[in-house]
């Protein structure tokens, strides 16, 4: 059973707000105030007016004394710091505080010695700005030895031009843990090692990091995940004809095409037909149990994996798993043709409680053909 220390810590951490983190921005505010010598302005005059007068006097005295002692101490240590400074000067060498690189303003630059022992010799440069970048999101699963349960982002070359990155560097980027949680939730990460390409993010608060002999990711703030717009899909309703005996029928024009195709099995006979028309041919063949013609409607370009190598294979499968149920659904359902893009389309078969999608692809001659395993 957990002791009180653990329970209290869990209670605080479980209910903790994102606001509770002391951010890089807050840190930079403190450093700016220190550098500007405007440390007293941090106090709110309406809160502490009487106290402020005393504090200013005391702080002034301390600064004066501190300055004297500090300058003595600093001069003693100039030699020990000179090596670090020499390395630091090579890090973003031509960029000074407030200067801008690729639209990002430098807030702070230099060694980061000593805050954690493993970070000794670390240089960092903090930038303020914002950019929309595209690249590959990489999730390292829990078993990864170097980065368990971590997310890195590799920006593409074009995106590097909108980040404060020196020429010749191509760093990976990493994010705060709460932002990694957000990315995991949006992209469904968290189980297996995975790379997702063409991910677009809006980022801010860039910190470039360098340590000799190590490859460190730079850190960024995640402002927004830009999700791809859903392609505009044209949806057209259509009907199929059934006769009095509830058998599927074709229009005269389609019947003529069917007869031609049945004889020649040449896809050219389907030229100019829409996906919904090829769909009707497929189910007309189903109605007639003309599986040879039906088999010939599948796409047969080389790059497509043929699920059934020969008509005989297909016939055997058909006989073992007759799909009469699907034909009945087609007759009873509401049908829509969806042209997704230039080479892919589908027909949705919508009934009261079910919805199926039947897929098509254009072959290299621009003719709509049935996908292998079309219901997938």
């Amino acid at each position: 059973m957990a002791d009180i220390h653990t329970q209290v810590k869990e209670a605080v951490h479980t209910t903790v707000s994102e606001n509770s983190v002391f951010t890089e921005l807050e840190k930079q505010r403190v450093l700016r105030k220190i550098r500007s010598g405007d440390t007293q302005s941090a106090k709110k005059s309406n809160q502490f007016v009487p106290r402020m007068l005393t504090t200013i006097a005391v702080a002034g005295f301390l600064l004066f004394i501190g300055g004297i002692i500090g300058s003595n101490m600093e001069s003693r240590n100039i030699a020990s710091q000179s090596d670090t400074k020499a390395v630091a000067e090579k890090f973003y060498p031509n960029l000074q505080y407030g200067e801008v690189l690729n639209g990002w303003s430098l807030l702070n630059k230099g060694p980061y010695d000593g805050s954690k022992s493993e970070q000794s010799g670390l240089l960092h440069a903090v930038f303020q700005g914002e950019a929309q970048i595209t690249g590959t999101l990489k999730y390292y699963d829990i078993d990864d030895s170097e980065r368990p349960d971590q997310i890195l982002f590799t920006p593409d070359k074009l995106s590097l031009q909108s980040l404060p990155v020196e020429e010749g560097r191509h760093p990976d980027l990493t994010f705060a843990s709460n932002e990694q949680r957000k990315l995991k939730a949006v992209f469904g990460l968290g189980t297996n090692r995975m790379d997702i390409g063409e991910v677009t993010l809006v980022v801010d608060n860039y910190t470039a990091r360098y340590i000799k002999g190590k490859t460190l990711p730079d850190t960024v703030g995640l402002k927004e995940i830009v999700l791809p717009e859903e392609p505009e899909v044209q949806s057209t309703p259509f009907h199929i004809q059934v006769n009095q005996g509830q058998k599927l029928e074709l229009s005269a024009v389609l019947l003529d095409r069917y007869e031609q195709f049945k004889v020649t099995k040449d896809k050219q006979a389907l030229s100019g037909l829409s996906p919904s028309e090829v769909f009707q041919l497929y189910f007309y063949a189903e109605e007639l149990q003309d599986y040879e013609t039906q088999y010939s409607l599948f796409i047969d370009d080389e790059e497509y994996l043929r699920v059934f190598e020969t008509y005989e294979d297909y016939l055997t499968a058909k006989q073992q798993n007759p799909s009469t149920g699907l034909l009945e659904q087609v007759k009873a359902g509401t049908l829509f043709e969806h042209v997704i893009d230039e080479t892919s389309a589908s027909v949705s078969i919508e009934a009261e409680t079910t919805g199926l999608s039947f897929g098509f692809s254009k072959n290299k001659h621009g003719i709509w053909c049935v996908n292998w395993l079309p219901i997938q």
Partner: protein, 187 residues
């Protein structure tokens, strides 16, 4: 070497004050902000006061006499600043809306938050925040920030016996949400 020791060594003089402040902010920034929030219950104010603490530390760094540990010293500054704020004209004229949520603001509620509210940990957090300041500060310094009784006594300038009494009273106020205490009660 612990970071605490590393900071104390840095104080001896191998780093510039600005570098020391960076190290201190990395180590104590979030801890202090959370502690200050437990007094002022407003994240914006907690952020301002935390920044002020670091500026004060920067200003007073060279006068730090090492009579206590650096940790106790910096927490004392933060506690004093929080109490100054609570005593201030500005604070007293605010209409204080006591939020029962420990850290999350009402605007941040998500479906998970609604579940969390029912969670015993959330109930414990609420009970801690509902304690009077004098019990809450001792309780959080000990159980959340891992201060010893003696460190609390130094930081708050109160006798050791008072620390123990307040800790006991604080624990009494939330014992129904502490698993051990419940177990003892029913078992």
């Amino acid at each position: 070497m612990s970071l605490e020791k590393e900071i104390e060594q840095a104080l001896v003089g191998i780093y510039e004050r600005e570098k020391i402040i960076e190290m201190v902010m990395d180590e104590y920034g979030t801890k202090l902000k959370r502690m200050i929030y437990s007094y002022v219950k407003d994240w914006e104010v907690a952020s301002d006061l935390t920044q002020e603490v670091f500026i004060t530390v920067y200003e007073k760094l060279l006068s730090f006499k090492r009579r206590s540990s650096f940790k106790t010293w910096i927490y004392t500054i933060a506690i004093n600043k929080s109490k100054d704020y609570l005593k201030s004209w500005h604070y007293r004229n605010l209409v204080i809306n006591e939020k029962l949520f420990f850290f999350k603001q009402s605007g941040e509620k998500s479906p998970e938050d609604l579940l969390l509210q029912q969670d015993v940990r959330s109930e414990l957090a609420k009970a801690i925040m509902a304690m009077p300041v004098k019990y809450r500060e001792v309780f959080l310094l000990h159980y959340y920030q891992d201060f010893t009784y003696s460190e609390i006594s130094d930081a708050l300038h109160i006798p050791l016996a008072t620390v123990k009494t307040r800790l006991f009273r604080g624990k009494e106020r939330c014992k129904q949400f502490l698993t051990n205490e419940r177990g003892e009660q029913h078992g």
